[in-house]
Structures are given as structure tokens and as C-alpha cells.
């Protein structure tokens, strides 16, 4: 089963290596990983999607928590959360007919066309993994020239977000 972990880490060089190294070394599988600075520049948030049974996930969490640079880890899988991925897809569109069709699909998925070239278009879309998969499937018949997909970022609904620990002084 896939688990979504929301991890606050020190925003320092080498932290990503520590985490990626831990996964590699202990044989855990990262499905996706997204990382970026938070509103506190000393702290980054990683959203890690990892697959494994309960025993594996428990070990993943414990081993991650053991890293000195990991400030707080929350497994949000069982919480109400909003999860989003983003993609760019560059598709073939050799003629006006194809362009019209693609634009219709784009509308249905509430995606956006962000670039039109001589015979290609770039579509930008955000959404849950399932929606992203559906967009990909829909556009595949046109011929996908290039495909970029971010890892999932996620946030728990309501007031119980895993907050930054209060800083002393």
C-alpha cells in the first residue's frame, strides 16, 4: 500500500542525500518525493510517497525519525488530506483538427495549454495522481513527445496540519 509521509527537515545541504541514501540502503521504495522550502527558510518540507506493508512503513518512519536532520514526520495516509501532482505533457498536434480535440480534453480536465509550437503543444495540469494518469491516457493517442511529472505534495485538511515546531528564542 502507498503511504504519504509529510516530513519537515532542516534546510541544509546534504539532507536530501541522507534521506535518499537511507531509502536505498535499507531497500525501501520511494514512489515519489517532492521537496521545497517552507515559510521558515531554515526548514524544508518533503512529501514522500512510499510503498510497502505496515512493517516496512513503520521501519521507514522510525529510520527517518532517527535522522538528526529530520525535525518532524507525519504519516498522513489515513488523514483527510489534499494531494496534488503537476505535469507538463508535450503532445503532437500536426493539424487544426488535432489541436481542437486536444483543447477540448484540456478543458474537460481543467488543464491548461501553456505553449503551442509548429506541430506540438505543451499541456500543464495539476491534480491527484488518478487524474494525472487519466490525462496522460487521454493524450497518449496523439503521441507524447515529452512528459514531466512532479512528486506529490500534500496538506492535511482543517487545523491539524503537522506544524513547524515552535522555535525557542
Amino acid at each position: 500500500m502507498k503511504h504519504t509521509l509529510s516530513v519537515l527537515v532542516e534546510n541544509k545541504p546534504g539532507v536530501l542525500t541522507r534521506i535518499a541514501g537511507l531509502f536505498a540502503r535499507r531497500g525501501y521504495n520511494i514512489s515519489s518525493l517532492a521537496v521545497g522550502e517552507t515559510d521558515d527558510p531554515d526548514v524544508s518540507r518533503m512529501t514522500i510517497v512510499v510503498s510497502g506493508d505496515e512493517v516496512v512503513i513503520e521501519q521507514v518512519c522510525k529510520q527517518l525519525n532517527k535522522l538528526v536532520d529530520v525535525i518532524k514526520l507525519t504519516d498522513i495516509t489515513d488523514k483527510e488530506f489534499i494531494g496534488r501532482e503537476m505535469i507538463f505533457i508535450k503532445v503532437n498536434c500536426p493539424d487544426a483538427k488535432a489541436r481542437m480535440e486536444i483543447m477540448q480534453f484540456v478543458d474537460i480536465f481543467r488543464a491548461r495549454v501553456v505553449d503551442i509550437g509548429k506541430d506540438t503543444m505543451i499541456i500543464e495540469a495539476t491534480g491527484e495522481a488518478a487524474k494525472i494518469d487519466a490525462i496522460e491516457d487521454t493524450l497518449r493517442p496523439f503521441g507524447i513527445r515529452d512528459f514531466v511529472r512532479t512528486g506529490q505534495i500534500a496538506m492535511v485538511r482543517g487545523a491539524k496540519n503537522p506544524k513547524h515546531p515552535k522555535k525557542s528564542n
Partner: protein, 561 residues
């Protein structure tokens, strides 16, 4: 106060009670060696190969129960530390390893003697740092000592570029450590304590399994009280040996792959196993599926990640084992398990360790260790290397006093014992320090004889020489159908002559008749002393648990009647 970062480093070492550094100089650590020269309170022990430095720091740390410090230059100096750091990591030894690094503008350019040592040691340190800004150095060093010595101890490496060490900085007055992501738990959770008390009340055949964490917690007294209170026998892992007196009636000694029969039987038959600061390593459990099958398992550990990692656990509790044992001793009523204890005592009687000597040979290494135990267990600290001699020491010496065995358990590092003895002797110059080693292991640390001579360390080296790597030979005997490969030393030196060249006093024991007299004489002699025992390469370590077998399926030596 303004000073060079290297001087600030020395000041912080002093503040942490460091009185000795084991190290080896080089280009990238010149500023640090310059600062060492200016310091009167910290002694530098120049090892002969950097690999000995972390081993010595480990021996020191295990004696003093506080971080040992080693120091090496960048590149090859740093990489030579790796085995020692990994050894310390596996056995949770508190250690601060300091390496020099090429100057910051040169980092990443494949400069002379440049190596990414923080990258290399990431999986084998509790934490590590590359100091890029000199003003961070005091804070980082303070954090390093804090992380190394608190929670589950472990090695921390600090990589210091040469220009950083040379930079003038303000040495801060306040070096209070506050690491957001590092807050170990010490106090055990009350509801878990209650669960343990309940389990203890239900148990009819409880067994205590002490692990290496007990040594760092210094919980020997609490353990003795606990064992009496719950009326349970005690088995120990290799790293826990000596935390509980093996001469005590409750002591069953080491469990595991080469565990004592009574210990292994007790594990297989107990209905409650209380693990104290042990990590259920594979050498202790045998086949995990067959481990303590009848037992409810209580796991007490300071490292949450250890709980449920290797074996299923029924009642976990995270915290300092000393604090938790105190809580338990206060909460548990006196129990009586005389039936179970007499069953265990019968196993002990039926399978005395003297039955496990193996085939007859002229000079029995097991007997030497038994004798060594009788002569020194009240006053000595014993370090071992890795091999048959290590297992025999664990099985036949009968340790009595807390923290008197220093050995490489988790990583099984040959070459550990002698430098560890150097560290132990530096930590306590008055102590009788004995290094039990084999001809294979000793040859990995031979040059350190010069280090020991240089510092007038009166270590007694007991060398079991059988011109063979006989623990490997034993594995090949049973697992490779007696195809012995790469295990004979056909050109060993004359170890006595070699040691004499270093200025070491030497004794050679070849027959059992001369064992007692020579051993006593050697132990009484002054200065660094080598006692070479010529033993047979046909000896085996008994008992042993073959691969994939449970502990109660161990192979014991059957005496020819």
C-alpha cells in the same frame, strides 16, 4: 574571546573532558596539530595506521563511558578511519571522529587528498558534519559530543577544511545545544510499564536478555535487583557480557550462534523474554522464526527504530534502560519461579562449558582462557579481536565486573582488539588490560606495538597462534564440506622475535603443564608483554548453531567416551 577555529576546537574538547586524542597528522590537519601543540591538557597518541585511531578511541570510550576522540587528515587518513567508525556504529560506541578536509575553495575539484568523507560515512555515523563556515565550528563540535553521547550512543564525524580551522573566530561563551530533530526519550511510558508489570505477573518462566545498551546505561546494579525481584535467569549478548556477573547463579552467559547450552535452551523454553538494550542481532537470535517461540517478548530500548525491526515484539517500551529498570523494580512484587530456575540450573549442570572443549589437543585455548579468568577476573579489562579466541573468551573466561569485556560484536572487526586495548589502557593507566587475540587478527594491528611501547602501556597480549584463520576454517568445515580455502598462514613470523624487535617482553606457552606458571609470570611482568600460545588449528568453537537453525538446535561437542 577571539581565536583560531582549531584552538576553539581544542577548547571544546577540553570542556568535554577529553584528555587524549588518537590520531595521525597530515596536510589538511596542520592547523589542528598546531593547536594540539599549544594545549597542555590533551595528550595526542600517534598511532601507526589511522585505522587504529577509532579502535583505540572505542576502547577508551568503553572504559570511560564517554566519547573517545580520533583525528585524521583528509583523503587516505579519513578513509582509513572508516572501518573503525563502522565498528563503533554497529556497537553504538560514543565517538567523535575529526577529519581534515581540503580548503573550502578546493572542495569538489578532486584536489590532492580530497575525499567526500561525510558522504562515505553517512551510513556508518549517527550523524556527520562538514564545517563550511568557521563560526559554526564551536556549535557543531558541541552538537557532535551531544549526539555521540546521548540517546543511543554512536560515532559522529566532523570534517573540517584546512582554511576553516585556520580562520579567526569568536569562541562563544554559551554552547548550549538545541537540535530540533534530536530529542531522545529517556523516561519509559507509564502505561507500557504497567503492561510489563502485568506480563511479569503472568509469567511462569521469565528470562532476561541483556544487550550492549546495558553497558552504556551503566545499569548493572538495577539488573541484579531486577533479576532477583522477578526471580529470573539472565542471558547476555556478546556486547553485554560482564554486565551481569557470570559467576552468579542466575547467569547463563552468552546466548546465540555460539551461545552456552543453558542460555540457548532457556531462550527456547521461556514464556517471557525481557530484552534490555539488545537489538536482536542475527548472531544472537539464530533463525528469527524459531527464536523464543513460546515467549511473550518485551523489548526495552532507547532507539525506537530497533523495536520490531528484527523480531515481533509484544510489549515495546522506549527509554533509558536504567531509568526503566528503576521504575520496574519499584513496581514489581517479589516473584518466585523456583521450578523454572531449577530447570535452568539443571541445564547448566548437564552442560558445563568444560564439556565444550572440543577435540583433545596439547594446549587447550579454552583452558587458557578459563585460567586467565581465574587469575584476573577481579581486576582486569579484556579486549578481544575477532575469531575463535573471541568466542572462547566470551564462553570460558567468566566475567564478573561491569564493563570488563571490550570486543567488536556487530561488525566483527579483526584488528580491533589491540588498538582497543591501547585506548583502554590510556583511559586507565593503572588497570590490568589484557588483549586476547589470534595470529590473524594481531597481524592486522602489529605496528601498534610501537604505539604502546611509546606510551609505556603495560598491556598483556595473549596471542592464540594456530597459524590459521580457524573460525573461517570452522565455517568451511561445516558449510563447505571441509574444503579449506585461503585460511592457512604458511609464513607467519616468529611473533616473539618480532615483538622483541619492538621492545616487548615475550613468553611462549606450548604445553599445558607450563601454562599456569608462565601465564602468572607474564601477567606479573612489567611493560608491554606478549604471551604467545601455540594452539592447534583443529580446535573448534562449541557449541554452534548451524545456519537457519533455532538456538535449541545447536551442535554441542560430544565427548568421546
Amino acid at each position: 574571546m577571539k581565536m583560531k577555529a582549531a584552538e576553539s576546537l581544542m577548547k571544546i574538547l577540553e570542556d568535554h573532558g577529553v584528555d587524549v586524542i588518537f590520531g595521525y597528522p597530515g596536510g589538511a590537519v596542520l592547523p589542528i596539530y598546531d593547536a594540539i601543540l599549544k594545549n597542555d591538557n590533551i595528550k595526542h597518541v600517534l598511532v601507526r595506521n589511522e585505522q587504529a585511531a577509532p579502535h583505540a578511541a572505542s576502547g577508551y570510550a568503553k572504559m570511560k563511558n564517554r566519547p573517545g576522540v580520533c583525528l585524521a587528515t583528509s583523503g587516505p587518513g579519513a578513509t582509513n578511519l572508516v572501518t573503525g567508525i563502522a565498528t563503533a556504529y554497529m556497537d553504538s560506541v560514543p565517538m567523535v571522529a575529526i577529519t581534515g578536509q581540503v580548503s573550502t575553495p578546493m572542495i569538489g575539484t578532486d584536489a590532492f587528498q580530497e575525499v567526500d568523507i561525510t558522504g562515505i560515512t553517512m551510513p556508518i555515523t549517527k550523524h556527520n558534519y562538514l564545517v563550511k563556515d568557521a563560526k559554526d565550528l564551536p556549535r557543531i563540535m558541541s552538537e557532535a559530543f551531544h549526539v555521540a553521547s546521548t540517546g543511543r550512543p554512536g560515532p559522529v564525524l566532523v570534517d573540517i577544511p584546512r582554511d576553516v580551522a585556520d580562520t579567526m573566530i569568536e569562541h562563544p561563551d554559551d554552547l548550549t545545544v538545541n537540535i530540533k530533530g534530536y530529542k531522545p526519550t529517556y523516561k519509559g511510558h507509564n502505561s507500557q510499564i504497567k503492561k510489563i508489570v502485568k506480563a511479569l505477573e503472568k509469567a511462569e518462566a521469565p528470562l532476561i536478555m541483556a544487550g550492549g545498551g546495558m553497558q552504556y546505561a551503566g545499569a548493572g546494579d538495577e539488573l541484579k535487583e531486577f533479576a532477583e525481584r522477578i526471580d529470573a535467569p539472565v542471558v547476555t549478548t556478546l556486547n553485554a557480557i560482564s554486565i551481569f556477573p557470570e559467576t552468579d547463579k542466575r547467569a547463563l552467559g552468552m546466548l546465540g550462534m555460539h551461545g552456552r547450552p543453558a542460555a540457548n535452551y532457556a531462550v527456547s523454553h521461556c514464556d517471557l523474554l525481557i530484552s534490555l538494550g539488545a537489538r536482536f542481532g542475527d548472531r544472537a537470535t539464530g533463525s528469527v522464526g524459531k527464536f523464543a517461540k513460546k515467549a511473550t517478548i518485551i523489548h526495552i530500548d532507547i532507539d525506537p527504530a530497533e523495536i520490531g525491526k528484527n523480531v515481533r515484539v509484544d510489549v515495546p517500551i522506549v527509554g533509558d534502560v536504567k531509568i526503566i529498570l528503576k521504575d520496574l523494580n519499584a513496581a514489581v512484587e517479589q516473584r518466585d519461579h523456583s521450578e523454572w530456575n531449577s530447570k535452568v540450573a539443571d541445564w547448566k549442570l548437564e552442560h558445563p562449558m568444560s564439556d565444550q572443549y572440543g577435540n583433545e589437543s596439547d594446549l587447550k585455548p579454552q583452558k587458557i582462557l578459563e585460567l586467565l579468568g581465574d587469575l584476573t577476573r577481579d581486576r582486569a579489562v579484556v579486549t578481544t579481536d575477532v575469531g575463535q579466541h573471541q568466542m572462547w573468551t566470551a564462553l570460558h573466561y567468566d566475567f564478573e565486573k561491569e564493563r570488563t569485556l571490550i570486543t567488536s560484536g556487530g561488525l566483527g572487526t579483526m584488528g580491533y582488539g589491540f588498538p582497543a586495548a591501547i585506548g583502554a589502557q590510556m583511559a586507565d593507566p593503572e588497570k590490568l588490560v589484557i588483549c586476547v587475540t589470534g595470529d590473524g587478527s594481531f597481524q592486522m594491528s602489529l605496528p601498534e606495538m610501537a604505539t604502546a611501547i611509546e606510551h609505556c602501556l603495560p598491556i598483556k597480549i595473549v596471542l592464540m597462534n594456530n597459524s590459521s584463520l580457524s573460525l573461517v576454517k570452522q565455517l568451511q568445515h561445516f558449510q563447505c564440506d571441509r574444503r579449506y580455502s585461503g585460511i592457512d598462514f604458511t609464513a607467519n613470523p616468529d611473533f616473539c622475535l618480532l615483538a622483541q624487535a619492538y621492545g616487548v617482553k615475550t613468553f611462549r606457552i606450548e604445553k599445558e603443564e607450563e601454562m599456569e606458571e608462565k601465564l602468572a609470570e607474564a601477567l606479573a611482568s612489567e611493560g608491554l608483554t606478549l604471551i604467545e600460545c601455540i594452539v592447534s588449528d583443529k580446535e573448534m568453537v562449541y557449541p554452534f548453531v548451524p545456519g537457519k537453525k533455532g538456538l535449541d538446535e545447536m551442535v554441542k561437542f560430544e565427548k568421546l567416551k
